[in-house]
């Protein structure tokens, strides 16, 4: 077991790779009641074209299957796992993102039992035709819930605009039609390909004894007959650097229009420190342009173009990246023009200030400390970072290292006319 110390943050992290390939991390948190654990596979909605375990050819699977699989993991021959967790005083959940599927629990008692339940239920799939069919009604309603949610539609509309081929443009839950094609055999095929321990990471954070916990996990894994598995072959179609669509308008049952301007990122296949630096530099750039202390925010707010729903975000993974900015507005055309012009000016650094950079860096450092209060943040983000070969605990030193010229370079590289797009949600009668 390795021990990693982070003096300035007063944290320590324990790590060991199991013989079956599973990465296990334990972060003791003194003073907390709760232990939080996530068991995550590097498998998300974008992994829809791959060579299934033991086969030779690439296979395209139905949209939404990773998420469907996540739902079905909770059902077992003798009932559902939620019940098991609550008997042990825990609350359990799961989520599927573009690149990951995570199973998690939190509990203040029976931590070992709960951890065992978590590991075992994820490592023992049980799918039948009957339970698969039943789930289609439930997920169908989940899809409809999102269909009525204008913010979700706006978000996905903007991503859809950006991508010609990449599966990031497909809604994580799929559609009612696509999930109709899912069968128990397809679920098993995906499961066996992506849920091998060598493709997974277990993170435990809470008031635990790390050595005891690590031994417990090791014993559990040693009892299971995993055999080595070759590296997973995933394939993404060729993706141009330019956006697929410049604009999309969705007419919905809303009163207030919404817009989202997107910039398709041009960095792919980054990882490790390179990716960390790029991601943080881009976030700092977005802070400079759009955060609440910026001149741009003041101008847009004073002009009545934005309200407190305004937000921005940058997402980067190995095979895609994008920045999004927008919110509710009475003046979608004007806001689109304003956001586009802010971004274009930033390309040549006209509206970027070195003094403001120092301030937004301080702000990011403070936010990071605040985030470390949250076991959920630590476990989820650490896992995301690790899957991209980045180290969460390098965030502060990396922020300190980033210079004004790094941010200017990111602005110049990222922003380009043919990578900008806009999605709007407008009231139906307009």
């Amino acid at each position: 077991m390795e021990r990693l110390l982070f003096d300035q943050l007063d944290e320590e992290l324990y790590y060991e790779k199991m013989t079956n390939g599973l990465d296990v991390y334990i972060l003791p948190k003194k003073g907390f009641n709760k232990t939080f654990a996530t068991f995550t596979t590097k498998y998300g909605s974008i992994d829809n074209y791959f060579v299934p375990l033991g086969q030779k050819d690439l296979k395209l699977v139905p949209d939404g299957i990773a998420h469907f699989l996540e739902h079905k993991m909770f059902e077992k021959e003798d009932g559902d796992v939620f019940g098991q967790f609550s008997k042990q005083g825990a609350s359990a959940n799961a989520f599927t993102s573009f690149t990951r599927t995570a199973y998690l629990f939190s509990s203040t008692t029976n931590v070992k039992e709960n951890l065992e339940t978590l590991i075992n239920f994820v490592q023992e799939p049980y799918f039948t035709e009957k339970t698969v069919e039943k789930e289609k009604g439930i997920i169908g309603q989940e899809i409809q819930m999102y269909n009525d949610n204008p913010d979700w539609r706006l978000y996905f509309g903007a991503i859809e605009n950006m991508y010609h081929n990449h599966p990031v443009k497909i809604d994580i839950a799929g559609t009612i039609d696509s999930i109709a094609k899912i069968t128990k055999d397809l679920l098993y095929e995906c499961y066996h390909t992506f849920y091998h321990p060598s493709n997974m990471l277990l993170f435990v954070v809470g008031p635990v004894n790390p050595q005891e916990m690590m031994n417990f996990i090791k014993d559990n894994q040693a009892k299971k007959p995993f055999t080595d598995q070759p590296e997973i072959e995933r394939k993404f179609a060729e993706e141009p650097t330019t956006v697929a669509k410049k604009e999309q308008v969705l007419h919905m049952n809303v009163q207030t229009p919404k817009i989202m301007v997107g910039i398709k990122g041009n960095y792919t296949n980054q990882k490790g420190d390179t990716m960390l630096k790029n991601e943080l530099s881009t976030q700092l750039l977005m802070d400079l342009l759009f955060n609440q202390s910026s001149e741009n925010y003041r101008e847009m707010y004073d002009a009545g173009l934005i309200d407190d729903s305004f937000s921005y975000d940058y997402t980067q993974e190995e095979s895609f990246s994008f920045a999004l900015v927008g919110g509710d507005t009475r003046e979608p055309e004007q806001l689109q023009e304003k956001l586009t012009s802010i971004l274009k000016q930033a390309k040549s650094a006209k509206n970027l200030s070195e003094e403001a950079l120092e301030r937004v860096k301080k702000n990011r450092i403070g936010s990071f400390l605040r985030a470390l209060n949250s076991p959920e943040y630590i476990a989820n983000q650490f896992t995301r970072y690790a899957f991209n070969e980045m180290d969460l605990f390098k965030v502060v030193p990396m922020l300190e290292e980033i210079t004004f010229s790094d941010v200017k370079k990111v602005a110049n590289d990222l922003i380009a006319d043919d990578r900008l797009t806009v999605c709007k949600v407008l009231p139906k009668n307009s």
């Binding site: 207030t256 925010y297 403070g366 949250s374």
Partner: protein, 420 residues
């Protein structure tokens, strides 16, 4: 763990712990919700956070906060029972985790005092331009609920169910009343509030108690007051439930049901009610989740929650419009099963375990901890964590059935799709 100090009109609550990397400050203002002033009150915190005489604009204030290592300042409004509560929350890094050390907590307290006692104002009026901008944003905030169907259905249920009660007033106020507010009327409302509202200041984190007490005593000097209390009114029970169906262009129908529990936070049988709610719809092992979602496959979410200070239990689910009757029938059956005591000792134990767990988890976050402690202020009780745990542990099946006898379905609200 909580140290309470009466300090000239502002009650100080200190919780010392070294488990966080930040210190959290929450200032609460409590007054009964009144139709005439609700919109003014909803505007107030947003104007306060828009500038002080020291940092005269939102931009300057935010710039200062960033320089304090990303200190946060946020405002929020809640209805707790028939009280309308303003919260102003700050969170600031603990300087021991930073390379440079500045007294960040004290600076944050100074800023909070500046926001409260030195807002951007002159001649007994807030700044006209700030008020105009925040009125515009408030209108958008009020209207935004129309575009979020889950929140909308909940708001409509409460409006219908509590029609003649102050509780029906929306937390962000009433659209038509926004234009009536002026920079002067808002200012004078604020002065009245500062002198008559019940005020509480919570500080959670790792600090030197003496220093913080002295600092607060110097910065927060107000007159003592006797806060206004709400008289609990008994609502006459309906003979038959009220059914409201509204049609809109939605993909999923939203079914919200309101029940009267006649049991409020601070009352003896409230603990049994918590267990009742947990068994009925509070968790994934509950009757609603199992029967509406897992067995009938009608919904993705099906749950119930308590409005603990108002004595309501609210059921919510999202279904296909054509399944309305089916869903209502199942939910009513499950309510009846609860009332009949159709649950085992093991079910009760399981529910108590997750309730206890939920509470302990809430206490792990500084904001959660403040919310839990503040329940005592609202209900005028003093339930400690230990007492709470013990009372939950002691709830019996008979207690749950008894508290169930008082629960009555009042209103069904359905936001229906157009197809049915």
């Amino acid at each position: 763990m909580e140290k309470v100090i009466d300090n000239q009109g502002v009650k100080l609550h200190l919780v010392k712990t070294d488990k966080y990397k930040t210190n959290t400050i929450v200032f609460k203002m409590k007054a009964p919700i009144e139709k005439e002033y609700a919109t003014t009150r909803a505007l107030l915190p947003y104007v306060l956070q828009s500038g002080t005489n020291t940092y005269p604009s939102f931009t300057e204030l935010r710039t200062y906060l960033e320089n304090l290592y990303g200190a946060t300042l946020s405002v929020d409004l809640q209805k707790k029972g028939e009280y309308h509560i303003i919260s102003i929350t700050m969170e600031v890094a603990n300087e021991k985790f930073l390379k440079q050390s500045e007294p960040l907590l004290d600076k944050a307290l100074t800023l909070l005092a500046d926001v409260l006692f030195n807002p951007r104002s002159a001649n007994d009026s807030f700044d006209e331009q700030i008020v105009a901008k925040e009125k515009r944003t408030l209108k958008q905030r009020i209207q935004a609920v129309n575009d979020d169907k889950m929140r909308y259905a909940n708001l409509r249920l409460i409006q219908e169910m509590c029609k003649d009660e102050p509780y029906a007033i929306p937390v962000n106020g009433i659209l038509e009343d926004v234009d009536k507010i002026t920079a002067q009327s808002l200012y004078s409302y604020y002065q009245d509030s500062l002198s008559s509202d019940e005020l509480d200041l919570y500080i959670v984190g790792d600090f030197t108690e003496e220093e913080v007490i002295q600092s607060c005593q110097a910065k927060f000097q107000l007159k003592s007051r006797t806060p206004k209390k709400i008289e609990q009114t008994n609502i006459s029970k309906r003979v038959k439930e009220n059914v409201i169906i509204e049609k809109q262009d939605v993909a999923q129908g939203k079914l919200n049901m309101g029940l009267r529990t006649d049991t409020r936070y601070g009352e003896d049988d409230y603990f049994a009610l918590q267990v009742f709610n947990g068994l009925f719809g509070g968790f994934p092992h509950s009757k609603l989740f199992i029967n509406v979602r897992e067995k009938a496959s009608l919904a993705y979410y099906a749950a119930s929650r308590l409005e603990s200070h108002k004595g309501l239990m609210l059921v919510m689910t999202g279904i296909e419009t054509k399944n309305y009757e089916k869903a209502v029938t199942i939910i009513k059956e499950q309510l009846q099963a609860m009332k009949n005591g159709d649950f085992t000792e093991a079910d009760i134990e399981q529910t108590k375990a997750v309730i206890q767990n939920q509470m302990l988890e809430t206490l792990d976050t500084s904001r959660g901890l403040v919310e839990v402690l503040y329940h005592n202020v609202i209900s005028g009780t003093n339930v400690s964590e230990e007492v709470w745990k013990e009372k939950i542990a002691n709830v019996t099946k008979e207690n749950i059935i008894q508290v169930g006898e008082k629960i009555q379905l009042d209103t069904i609200y359905f936001l229906s799709g157009l197809e049915a």
